[in-house]
Symmetry: D2
Subunit: 398 residues, 4 copies
């Protein structure tokens, strides 16, 4: 039995990860949180200028992109390591952007790390991982492709030595200002006709037009959520990411971990909301005693603590599975549903505890509440995951 | 037994009210809804310009302020009448403003109708009721006065023939652009020392400064939510609304019905969200069948129908009680909790059914979801009402 | 406009119905509740001996079977009248049996009142209505016929002048000791082959064997829940109830009102549990104050009050519709789901408030909790009703 | 760094514990489950005769009391070990009794193992650990002592060389047939006047009369739940368990782990219910497809899986803390609330999926549903734990 074989359950993460997470938490608390009142945090997310400014501060603080491969300056964090660090980063809605572990870049970087060719690593992944450019993941379409892949309608046709891509993409996070795109399209013609393929494209490209940036309830993603018109986009034959026809397989490579990293970051925001509500419940007086001495309030705080506790356990467990090489399809679905719903409850309770104040942007809870609402939908609505989980249970494949 | 004595339960509202509500619903659908994409609907609510434009259209359509006293051009609607008309108006978040039954004016008009002197009726109430000016209700303070009246800290001191008022008010809906204010203050000195009194003041007044308009999650109130600094505001001795020292009694006169009219208007928005989600569930396809043919979706629609059904019954019952002269303290508390929570669930389910689309402002569900969140807090958070209800039950006074 | 045309909403039931309900409530409180500790209330329900004893007391008190047709000694109560009286009766789980408005007799009586021939009225309905015999409704089968009618497997074949019926019935409430049966069977052969027909049979009959009485969580139905083997039951050609092939249509005649009368009776039990829990919360001390002064408890009582309020409104509304001749398919489904779930929550909260005491049969809350659990299943599980409601909404037929 | 120091999170329990748990699960499945239909499983729990029979079978199978100290034939399992084994045992409600890890013996054995003197170990603990006798824990009283220790009213007075104990105990699990008692009493007189002390007493003793065995909703504890009258019980001066006046401290020694072992056992019953419901959903057909192919059902199964997953994680985490010597006051409170509520939801969903069948004792789900209802109350109702947790959060001591 080697020194690294655990002999019992262990819920104590490695000290070096705990230290790194503490460092990130300090950076977020001391450096990022003051930016939360910066007007450059717009309704369509923080500006790229603000992002670069915070990225620089993160680099100086030694907390920039610790998850990316060491060849790009990171520490190649395990999923467990990400669980700790991303939760710490999420303590401010701006934190993940600041240390460059925000979606969709974080998931795109992971995908390219697994699938990209050496030249693609140099051209795309290196610049993404170092924060030189932001990337977008163009899968969702106005007609519903996203939750249900069968509805994919963007097409890719080989014309001589070039692919010609046409279609519309929608709710594309980070579109405005992005430097490259991963585009999912359905092969038209050729031996893989009807199968989905992923392509890499530099941005901006006149064939990819951002027809508008959507007004959305959430407001924390740099570049907002764009609607894209792709009209006769021509890409070289080798613009394919991985192999032709394996688009959906790669989407899975990206999705299971991406789902979980969402959980991590948003758990950080639940911690933040809970801390703000707790402080308020301690200070504020109502009906002759501290707000927090009313059971109607303290029970909500207790429920927050339990929701946060369980969300973290579900994340850690799934992270551990992924690190062991398990695909964790069911576990990541469960973690996604558990965390998105638990975190939404926490945000809702915190807002309620704050009362009228909670409805205002005087605390960040208002933004958290709005942002986490999205989490029950993005990366598969709760219903799709319950449907998948229930189906596996009934089929005896859970 | 007279012709008007009902012999049995009756859930069929009078035909003339149903007709009026239908007319309002048509006006809202045909005339108001197109304004929902008007850029004058800002994050701090629709502008006064937009309000006046819609008010004019409502006047032309014969649906302007049907609830106000006949002397001001209204129909002096019963509470049951309001229940029908305000629900119809609420079918657009802009509807209540359009037909001039929005909060806080609607509640202020009711309060003045009950309490104001003839000269105050002429100077204040007439102009409020006809939409010439908007009014604000200045009770809530940053320190918590609002849910807990004991915390009121704005003071009113009689200095010769004038009242001198000082204090800070907060979350004052409609502040920007309002033409008059009802101000709640605590008497300092005099025979009613320590008691609360209501005052009427014209706006703008240099002694009442809007230090800022708060950024809030909700966005449907004209004038937004302001923070007010009242510094040595001088009002004539007769600026008192009703009697000195009866401020809290009058607050109750305003609150029970105001709570219920909130329920009515917001129920309208639940209907709207439900209709949008239902239409989407009918049209959209996912995983090989209509979205609405998935039980995961159709069960949500069924729950919506039940929540809307119960909210309406609770409103109608309480309205009927109020019309009979019953104070309906418990019933209006119950209706407030029931409706605010049911409507929030409906909005949440609708947003979930819409998926990513629900997070965008491409449908009005996004705004409805944000606005109705406030309803669980405004006019007494659920917790305060549960506390009051539970207290009465334990005391045998329910 | 006639004297009976209501001019407005009315939530005040007719005085004579209120008086009758009060009388029933007094009878239940004074006379029936003492029987709750009688050992003849067995795990399979109260015995028939106990039933007859209580029926006699009800007759003496003038509260026996007020809902049945006047020709059988009742008052032919409207559905609204039933709403008041049955809720009052339900204040004890034994109350409906005592005044003879318990399921399944009450629904069977209604069905025969609508469908039976004059000779069947005399032979069956008269004896059922007067409490001379109890009746059973044999629809549910072990294979699932019940929620899903398509699964009906009991067959009826015409053999000369006689019907020959074979099959197994299951969860047949009141089987032990019943005096007649309504049997649902599928025609085998003949012009209505494959259609369902209802038959009336005297009991006991050697061809109908109670193979066992099921052990069930609920314990309030006289005769328990039996499993029946029907083997070559021979009935005369005119044993058909109504017309051949209309079994499912008649099932609907029975079900919509039967669903609602369940709501009424069980609402009574919610009142009872709530009163017991309230009294306990007033008397008991925990952690230095009355139990009911803890918000954790008083909020539960407030929620009870709201659940009871809404359940009653949903019942009254649906009763009013039925009295107007409306089939109220959606409204009775909604009332069933609303009431069964609200009442289960009330029972659960009451049990929780009582703590360890709640788990014991020292209060009747323990029985109520177990019995009302069934209500979310009997007469169509919540899921079947949500499915039907959602389906209608999506189809635009709600 | 030694071979046993884990370097990372680990959710894989030691192989030998997994094997032991598998062995227990097989024993339960093959040997114990057939006893579930044995009539000796009465409404007041399985009889002692049945218990001894099953204990013998467990001894033969090598799975008897693996948690007890090795000196008594056990394996002195860690809390993590208990988590695995007790969950396996709980797969039948009779399993814990069969392998002798049922409450209250299991907690009593733990308490004596920590606190008892050598002679008490020999006389009491040895016989308890080997299953020779059953023991009871006499803390709860009819007046409320239990959740709120301040209400303890049983008294212990030193009279010469003897303690004289008087009082009433209530809901004493396992009373009928027990061989010894741990009695909590308040010192009357002496230096520790007013403090609580624990005593050990042999049973039966004429001074301890079981005035009745309570009828309760749950039915799985051997000996049922008794009410005890203690009248001038005389015990020798050295009958004290541990030190005089430290009764509540020892209660805590017992409670935190006892709370958690409850979670473990009941989690086993949730697994069982879920397996039964899953099998049913696979086999049964309704409305044209498998029950489990209806989202209304499969979503419930998915929710079960998540509840079970989270309950297990919360248990494992707390067990790990306890094994590290952490008192885990907050974590065991959280685990108790989380598990009791999650398991109750699972049982409720399973019963609902089974429909009418669920209400019958034809499956064990009916008993599970009733038994787990107690779990939200026993060992501190959810409200007391939420109150404690919330209080710690507000006090900054969480």
């Amino acid at each position: 039995m080697s020194a690294t074989t655990p002999l019992d359950l262990n819920f104590q993460p490695p000290a070096e990860l705990v230290e790194l997470a503490d460092k990130v938490k300090r950076f977020v608390t001391e450096t990022v949180i003051p930016y939360e009142t910066d007007p450059r945090w717009t309704a369509h997310g923080p500006t790229d200028e603000m992002r670069r400014e915070l990225n620089d501060l993160a680099r100086k603080a030694g907390v920039f992109a610790p998850h990316v491969p060491t060849e790009f300056g990171g520490r190649d964090l395990s999923t467990v390591g990400q669980a700790l660090v991303f939760e710490a980063a999420g303590y401010s809605m701006l934190g993940p952007m600041a240390i460059h572990c925000a979606s969709p870049d974080e998931g795109n970087i992971h995908l390219l790390d697994v699938v990209a060719r050496p030249d693609q690593r140099q051209h795309f992944l290196r610049r993404m991982a170092t924060g030189e450019i932001r990337s977008i993941f163009c899968m969702t379409e106005p007609g519903g492709a996203g939750s249900d892949p069968a509805l994919l309608s963007t097409t890719a046709r080989l014309d001589g030595n070039e692919w010609v891509i046409n279609g519309r993409k929608w709710l594309i996070t980070g579109a405005e200002g992005a430097g490259c795109a991963i585009i999912m399209a359905k092969n038209e013609g050729g031996p893989m006709d009807g199968h989905a393929t992923m392509f890499l494209a530099d941005l901006p490209d006149p064939a990819i037009r951002i027809s508008r940036t959507l007004d959305t309830m959430d407001s924390s993603f740099t570049g907002g959520h764009g609607e894209l018109e792709i009209t006769n986009l021509r890409l070289p034959a080798d613009a394919v990411l991985g192999e032709i026809g394996k688009g959906f397989r790669y989407a899975q490579v990206r999705l299971a971990p991406a789902r979980l990293t969402h959980c991590m970051r948003w758990l950080g925001s639940a911690n933040r909301a809970h801390d703000i509500a707790t402080a308020y419940a301690r200070d504020r007086v109502a009906f002759g005693k501290k707000l927090g001495e009313h059971e109607g309030v303290s029970f909500m705080l207790a429920d927050n603590a339990m929701d946060i506790h369980l969300a973290r356990l579900a994340i850690w467990h799934c992270a551990w599975l992924l690190d062991k090489g398990n695909k964790a399809a069911s576990e990541s679905s469960m973690a996604k549903v558990i965390c998105s719903e638990a975190i939404a409850r926490v945000a809702d309770r915190c807002l309620q505890i704050l009362g009228g104040l909670g409805m205002t942007r005087d605390t960040v809870v208002e933004r958290i509440f709005r942002d986490v609402r999205a989490f029950r939908i993005y990366d598969g609505p709760s219903e799709v995951h319950r449907w998948a989980l229930g189906g596996r249970i009934v089929a005896g494949k859970f």
